[in-house]
Amino acid sequence: MRLEPIPNPSALRRVGLPAGALALTVLIASLLALLAGANPFATLGLILKGAAGSRFALLETLNRATPLIFTGLAVAVAFRAKLWNIGAEAQLYAGAVVTVLLGTGALPLPSVFLVPVIAAAAMLAGALVLLGPVLLKTRAGVDEVVTTLLFNFIMLLAVSWLLEGPLKDPMGMGWPKSPALEKAARLPRIVEGLRLHWGFGLAILSAIAVRVIQTRTTLGYEMRAVGLNAEAARFAGIPVGRVMVKTALLSGGLAALAGFSEVAGLKGNLTLDLSPGFGYTGIIVAMLALLNPLGVVVSALFVAGVFVGADSMSRAAGVPTYIADILLATALLTMVLALRLTTARIRWR
């Protein structure tokens, strides 16, 4: 078989194939539910209900989506320029560490100044974490996929050391956790009484900002050009290496905001389980959004809903919560396939 490009794919193709991918994902999830001895319709219903069935559920989903919007944006920005940043997890923790370092009494500032200063410092830390692998890529030709992946493990060990050493909470009863942030360093809630913090607002603003950068600035144009064809971009006089570095700084900074927002908005302190793989899930979020920053918000809500819904379903129906991970991985793979087939048709022979 071979693939033959379709110049003008029909609307049916453009809508039908992604819808088919989604249907296939739901079908596989149903089969898994059956395998676990549960009613597939009830299982899917419970996931939906757990994700958006009540005010509590909805707020939980919004909270879970917040770090995913940041990591999704980080991945989307990088992948657009064909910079394979798989290290959002490490950059997230870098942001979280800086948030704790500066937010536990180091800076005697009022909240209105303190919070932005911490956010900016966190972004800088995340940017620097990604700068290493990117300089290795542009200067020495070292593949960034593996280096960014390996940095995740190094960073997690560094955080583990910090939490058992210099950053350990002396009142923590021996648990490896940091002291709590001072009140001035915390992100306030959007509406008093509702468990949703301004990290979510910041995430939406970041998505809009990324969109503006991509569509309205020279940097955005250069990033796209480098992603489409680095050789052609170089030939056109675009400084490819410098664009890569700028992309990396933006991407690492966005991922670090996830760590900042989780610590300053939700948890109030740093533990080793701050992120259940938000950095990696950001890849799914970005891909499902076709690397579109505003789409990232939507797909982060979807992905967060699946996780939150599956957790609550698992407690009720007894299907292991890992069904969420299978569902999302399947959605990712079927969606990239569906998109490929919208612009190409299969010719047997």
Partner: protein, 314 residues
């Protein structure tokens, strides 16, 4: 001198060979994929599913070797999925690979919870036992290291030779290497690039599955969620370090394992106790990055690595 004592101990050399074994399986697997032109980032998840499937099979009562076969089949199954998406459909090898890793890891976790819903600590199996080779295992230092290992370790070393011979001394190996260097030349020979690449990814993924199974069936005797712990990514670095050659890559695995065995032992020395244990645990990952940096200058990357081939296009 602490380090000298460690280097002269038989247990250090035995541990080096033991730690290297799963890496050798998976590195050879990745090397086969990449030599045919396909980067397989599914390696981490495929090792997890191999570790789980082999262990589960043995727990359910199949023999040890049947467990290895199950692990290999599980790896091949995910390899087939990876190959289908990346070779004929030409999808991004980065995205598909990471997707496969997520899918395989999640499948292992799901199946584990499904089959053992209540347990808090995973059940143990009777793993492969060391097989002492009479006479040779009595040689000081070398004996325990090379001739008192489990059957799976011996298999890993046999495979280094087998993969080298197949790659460099057979028409199949030539076709496979050509698929990764210049796919059009393979088609000109009347062979199918698609078939060769898919075959390479499936076989390579099978080896990754066995590499994972080594962890649950030879090194340890149970399955833990985090047990692969980045070994797959390290193997990708080892392929680069070995300049895409089986012998060199295996040597890299041994060198790497030696550092790993050394850091575990240094932790227990009086000097090592002064340094946080996390620093020692970082050593494998830092070394992998260093290896990449050192080798990237004289990279001999297969020319068509990550370049999809669509018949009739040029």
């Amino acid at each position: 001198m602490d380090i000298l004592d460690i280097l002269l101990s038989a247990s250090f050399w035995a541990a080096t060979v033991r730690i290297a074994s799963p890496l050798i399986f998976a590195t050879l697997g990745e090397l086969i994929c990449e030599r045919a032109g396909v980067l397989n980032l599914g390696i981490e998840g495929i090792m997890v599913i191999g570790a789980f499937a082999g262990w589960m099979a043995v727990y359910l009562g199949t023999g040890l070797w049947a467990g290895v076969a199950v692990a290999m089949l599980a790896g091949m199954l995910f390899g087939l999925l990876h190959a289908t998406l990346t070779v004929p459909f030409g999808l991004s090898q980065h995205v598909v690979g990471l997707g496969i890793t997520l899918l395989a890891t999640a499948t292992a976790s799901f199946a584990y919870r499904l089959s053992l819903p209540e347990v808090t600590s995973p059940p143990k199996i009777e793993p492969f036992q060391p097989l002492e080779i009479p006479g040779l295992s009595q040689i000081p230092l070398l004996g325990p290291a090379l001739f008192s290992q489990t059957a799976l370790t011996y298999l890993a070393f046999v495979l280094i030779v087998v993969v080298s011979v197949v790659l460099y001394r057979t028409p199949l190996g030539l076709a496979l290497r050509a698929a990764g260097e210049n796919p059009a030349s393979v088609e000109a020979q009347g062979l199918s690039v698609t078939a060769i690449r898919m075959g390479a990814v499936i076989v390579g993924s099978g080896l990754m599955g066995v590499g994972g199974a080594f962890l649950t069936m030879s090194a340890f005797s149970s399955f833990f969620f985090e047990m692969v712990n980045g070994r797959g990514w390290i193997c990708i670095a080892l392929v680069v370090f070995g300049a895409w050659r089986p012998g060199k890559a295996a040597l890299g695995a041994l060198l790497f394992a030696a550092f790993d065995a050394l850091q575990v032992r240094l932790q227990q020395t009086p000097m090592g106790a002064l340094i946080p244990y996390q620093v020692f645990l970082m050593v494998p990952y830092v070394l992998s990055i260093l290896a990449l940096v050192l080798m990237s200058r004289r990279a001999e990357v297969p020319a068509a690595l990550m370049v999809p081939f669509n018949k009739g296009e040029r």
